[in-house]
């Protein structure tokens, strides 16, 4: 009896604690410390995320820091018109699309294949060791990745060129020859992210029921058939989700990586939207024009993600939202 009444009064107390006071203001006052805790984070999002979002309106102005946002002149779509009629626009679009296409063809399948191969390894210790090693490059900064690339590929004492020179008697200017720019970018991406990219697939594979494989073996399926009919379907929805997210990044080639590998000699193939925004905006101070270029890029990204998501749902996949 005693315990029952104790728990009943505890429940009543709990209910009143949960509900706070009886009035609206009472509830707000009751939760005042929670709002105090919420404030710094909310301020952060408003200042560093939402003010810049509203700042995209600069794209429709002739913004001058001198006059400030409120007094600058409105010019409508003028900057977009200038940008789309600029021959540089087609160079940027071509470079961005080609890099994204190469990424999709050469990089995107790499973690999937690596995960499938890792999944076939039977010795657990060997598998763990390989995983530990291939995850390392993901945590290394892009500057170090680019530095390693320079140290290995430069014509002035770079390792690869020293070896080429010694055994074949010639050197290749990997870092300045436009023909080598795209392969180097893709190789950097594969080296840095391929290993880490397997995590999400290995997680999906870990949840596959072993009985499915046993049943398949009894039915006489070989390992290739097991992979094709059991393993691959298990990661199909993950692949689709990653593909949809990739679509949003078609014009987004990773600023740091491109910027670090860009130089005046390979600019015709290397310059993409992000680096162009940086050079026009930060270096040359064309704030409104570069904001317009950036806005174009994000709007295309949102449209592509939405389209890809819609298509995936049409084909019966679950999509990202």
């Amino acid at each position: 009896m005693k315990t029952a009444s104790a728990s009943a009064s505890a429940e009543a107390a709990e209910a009143s604690v949960r509900a706070g006071g009886s009035t609206r203001w009472g509830r707000l006052w009751k939760n005042r410390w929670l709002y105090v805790l919420l404030a710094p984070g909310l301020l952060y999002f408003l200042i560093f995320k939402y003010v810049p979002m509203w700042g995209v309106l600069l794209a429709f102005q002739n913004f001058s820091p001198f006059h400030g946002f409120w007094k600058s002149e409105w010019v409508g779509f003028e900057h977009f018109r200038v940008f789309f009629t600029n021959p540089e626009f087609f160079m940027l679009l071509r470079n961005s699309l080609i890099l994204s296409f190469y990424n999709l063809i050469f990089f995107f399948p790499a973690p999937i294949i690596l995960a499938l191969l890792l999944n076939e390894v039977r010795v657990a210790l060997f598998k763990r060791t390989i995983q530990t090693l291939v995850y390392v490059p993901h945590f290394i900064s892009m500057v170090i990745v680019a530095s390693l690339t320079y140290v290995f590929l430069t014509t002035e004492g770079g390792l690869v060129n020293e070896l080429l020179d010694r055994y074949f008697g010639f050197k290749i200017s990997f870092l300045t020859d436009p023909a080598w720019f795209r392969p180097i970018i893709i190789l950097q991406t594969i080296w840095k992210e391929c290993g880490f990219g397997t995590i999400i697939f290995l997680a999906a594979l870990a949840s596959v029921d072993v009985e499915q494989y046993e049943a398949a073996i009894i039915d006489g399926a070989n390992r290739w058939q097991q992979m094709w009919h059991i393993t691959l379907p298990a990661i199909r929805s993950t692949i689709v989700i990653l593909l949809i997210l990739r679509m949003g990044d078609v014009l987004d080639n990773g600023f740091e990586q491109i910027y670090l590998m860009l130089n005046p000699l390979n600019r015709e193939v290397a310059e993409v939207f992000d680096t162009y925004v940086y050079f026009m905006g930060i270096t040359q101070g064309a704030f409104s024009y570069s904001t317009a270029v950036g806005l174009f890029k994000s709007v295309v990204g949102i449209i592509l993600v939405t389209l890809a998501n819609w298509t995936a749902k049409k084909f019966g996949q679950s999509g990202i939202y």
Partner: protein, 293 residues
Amino acid sequence: MRHYRTIPGTIFDICNCLFLGLFALAAVLPFIYVFAGSFASDTELTRRAFFLVPERFTTAAYEYIFSTDTIVRSIGVSIYVTTVGTLINLFFTVTMAYALSKRHLAGRNFVLNLVVFSMLFGGGMIPTYLVVRELHLLDTYWALMLPGAISAFNLIIVKNFFQEIPAELEDAAKIDGCHDLALLWRIVLPLSMPVLATFTLFYAVGHWNNYYSALLYINEPSKWPLQVILRQIVMLSQMAAGDLNAMDPNFEKPPDQSIKLAVIVVGTIPILIVYPFLQKHFAKGVLLGSVKG
């Protein structure tokens, strides 16, 4: 058993292990070469090209690095920004995540939607730069720490974790007269240590590796973090970071190549030191993130 032994199957297994072994080797070999080369002399580097153990071990490159003002100061900047920046990240993320983990809080859904939308769309490089400029943060260390104070992705994962903590624990403390701040400090945080350790490491690695913010917001060479100096030395082949004449003029300058390698080692070592701790946690972190909610 999943597998049964066949001859083609065994051949595949051997090739598979060989391939994976080579791939793993390719992931770490560059570091081993750079590490070995940083302890070698320039003559050996040009003579032998590729090696994994130097014949004559020398620390000249490191002595040189730590005798320069530029590099030592940039290491100091990186350590400062990593330490203070990570504390800022944790403070902002934990406080906001705790408030958002309370389902009964009025306005919670609105704020959550703000957070999620910011993951889909952003103002971009230039408007964010102008905000930082208007706040007079250019050329201050705040510019390296505040604009990325919260990662929306991490925030949501921490919020989901707080929601999993049984409400009874907090209610009991509340009846004993604990208010929300004390609850967070005395009940919730001690229960969340493993999760917080994970995010501490992730945020810290992010700060140490950050190049983008310094490139955009810091013009003054004396405030550049290590990543910027690293690029100057290795890729632009210049020590033009300001004050080389401040160095000891009697110090004999060792060969360029081994200095480059040594600077790369200095930039990589902290990451490799925390990597074992990271590795213990990140698989869990990625899995947590894939749970929607």
